[in-house]
């Protein structure tokens, strides 16, 4: 079965510092990969996605992620963090539901980001 691992439960960075959130997946074929962000009290918002092609993908809010097949990773990065980036971040992999032919997402446990002024 597909799975997603986010090794870091909590990360704290200073405002203006760079950020990298780690994500490793387990999937047999070429994965469809996603990063979502959940601000306090809100639902999840899609930051970026990877389906194929260029392994470096750009997303909203200045985030980017790099797909590395050899490492089964899809790490999220931002060069300079803002206080408003404090949130919980979820990595997800798409899974085809063979019984119904419909697609699902398998989520990691999330990484909570705190930003110090």
């Amino acid at each position: 079965a597909q799975s997603v691992t986010q090794p870091d439960i909590h990360i704290t960075v200073s405002e203006g510092a760079s950020l990298e959130l780690r994500c490793n997946y387990s999937y047999g074929a070429t994965p469809y990969l996603f990063w979502y962000v959940q601000s306090p009290g809100q639902g999840l918002q899609l930051l970026l996605k990877y389906f194929s092609g260029d392994t470096l993908v750009q997303g909203i809010k200045g985030f980017e992620a790099e797909f590395k097949r050899s490492q089964s990773s899809f790490n999220l990065r931002k060069p300079s963090v803002h206080w408003s980036d404090a949130a919980e971040y979820f990595c997800a992999v798409g899974e085809l539901s063979f019984s119904g032919g419909y697609n699902k997402l398998i989520f990691g446990a999330g990484t909570r980001l705190a930003v110090h002024p």
Partner: protein, 113 residues
């Protein structure tokens, strides 16, 4: 913009009560999903629906049922609420069977006492 709304942001119910969580999307999406979110566990899929009156079990369907009588509305039902169902419940929708991209509602925080 896609809008997914959930009927309540916070709910407090007693053990044994029947609980209905409602979700409505306004973009004519075929697929709708119910997740529960618990600290350290991320989001786990309870049920999803790919058409009106069609449903499929997710990873943790025990203790839950769903109803989809209209395309825009997907309800999660706790037949007899228990304290271990205290959680955040998130509804999502996606536009077509081949689409993985899901749009989420704000969530309902349910407390069962």
């Amino acid at each position: 913009d896609v809008k997914v709304t959930q009927s309540s942001r916070y709910l407090v119910k007693r053990t044994g009560e029947k609980v209905f969580l409602e979700c409505v999307q306004d973009m004519d999406h075929e697929n709708m999903f119910w997740y529960r979110q618990d600290p350290g566990l991320g989001l786990r899929l309870i049920y999803f629906s790919y058409d009106v009156k069609m449903k499929e079990k997710g990873d943790i369907p025990e203790g839950y049922s769903v109803s989809r009588e209209k395309k825009e509305r997907f309800s999660l039902i706790l037949e007899s609420a228990s304290t271990n169902q205290t959680s955040m419940y998130l509804c999502a929708s996606s536009s077509r069977p081949g689409s993985y991209e899901q749009y989420f509602g704000p969530g309902t925080r349910l407390t069962v006492t």
